[in-house]
Amino acid sequence: MGNSLTLSGVHAGYGAVHVLHDVSMTVPSGETAVLLGTNGNGKTTLIRCILGMIRPTAGTLTAEIDGQTHNLIGMTTEEIVNLGIGIVPEGRRLFPRLSVEENLLLGAFRPKARQELKRNLDFCYECFPRLAERKSQLAGSMSGGEQQMVALGRALMTAPKILLVDEPSVGLAPILVSRTIDKIKELKDSYQLTVLMAEQNFNQAIRIADRGYVIVHGKIAYSGESAADLNNNDLIKKFYLGL
């Protein structure tokens, strides 16, 4: 059964500021799509749109969850999360004064996720053994990489079918960036997730990408349908690296 995400002709912005212009993209079931772009091009805005935190001014936004199609426009964030779209927010946004376990349990706030709480928690600890060791540590006192693990784990606790990851590399050492990216790939494979990842780090991101979109000034400047496409494309170098 399919879990895919489709945007077509999406326009959005903040008040008078028009950020996204006619954005169309698809994340097919079981694939990892990466959204590439440097700062200020609309990556986070796009993610917010999908999550219902910003309402698009035009266009359609649909998600297919377990073969059922849902129109995301007009739904509230919690309804969207409850559908099975999980988010790892930019900059992790943990609850620093709660322990690791409490942060994870918080991911299971929604009724649907609560039913599978035990299983998801075990799964989290299996994926991230480090978190099992540090259950009772305050999340705010952990290192950046560990915090990113908690944020990923917390998103898994919502029992998502589609996982949105917003800039996992923010504030991480290069080696941790590559580990985090690997982990996302691993999670996707073992959990059969559909992943949309917004990222600036081009080289790291395309390692796990099945397809990619380059966003420049709120427009999709290039869409690559396969990993090879992304690797060998001069356009990407031009748009993205400015070469």
Binding site: L51, R93, F95, R97, L105, G107, F109
Partner: protein, 329 residues
Amino acid sequence: MKSPVFFLVWIVVAAIVFAFGLYLKNDYFFFAGYTVLQYVVLATGWNILGGYTGYVNFGSAAFFAMGAYASVVMHKVAPLPVPLLIIIGGIVSGLVGLGMGYLTLRLRGAFFAIATLALAVVLQTLIVNWDFVGGSRGAYIIRPNTLDIAGLQIPYIEYLFALMLILAVCALTVARIVERSRLGFGFATIRDDEVAAEACGVPTLRLKLMATTLSGALMGMAGAPFPYYIGYLQPSSAFGLEYAVNSIAMPMIGGTTSWVGPLIGAIVLGTLQQVATVTISSAVNLLIVGLLLTGFVIIAPNGILGLIHKFRGQSDADKVGRRVIRETP
């Protein structure tokens, strides 16, 4: 401790306080005690929105006054016993809270605080221009001297004091239930990081509306018996600055993360103000609040509770909702 047990224990404490008042044979104890208890309810109500959810409400006086004016209206239309008036006041202020929530909760931080301040001004203007409740002249409510309950002549002030005691116990119980429930947990996540809470699927808007309604209702209940206590209600006293300031200062001084905080704050600050009113002057009240608040913000930002935790070597980690999560799996 289970909530019903907690409630009964505090009812016993309340009975002891009341018995102590009777033993003193001093009406002033009841007059002063009523004000302190009223602040316990007001501070507890404020704390549900301000402390647990982190939305600072500067319009407490408006909720208090709406409760009081609901009683004035009822008094003119169809006089009811005060316990019923308390419920009506709670409903009216709860609705005002819900409305305020719908209007303002998309605002955050300082903007929300400013909006609540404006709400108080708007409502005060409405009341001032509403002749039915006396407008700016105010309204008289002549209360009987005694109340006849089962043949016993009970002085009216003792009756009001007893009602306020029960109301305070109810408010504390409600606050404690909220604090230890999934609801309180949701409130705490909103306070810590609203965006992250939404990303986890916490229905933030709905929870915030519940917080404003509950908080407003409790503050309205605190105000409902007020016209009977004071005898003459005018807008400038019902919307008085001291209600807005005290209902913020008391939880801040006591500690905002637990039901105990507003209780401690209200008793300490309320008693101090009563003492100052008798010994110095009533005008010195706000000065005391200001000085204490400034002192606490500098010395003990987590209030008296924070200080206690510090001396016992516990972390200041807040308690709201944490019990629930630990018990969930």
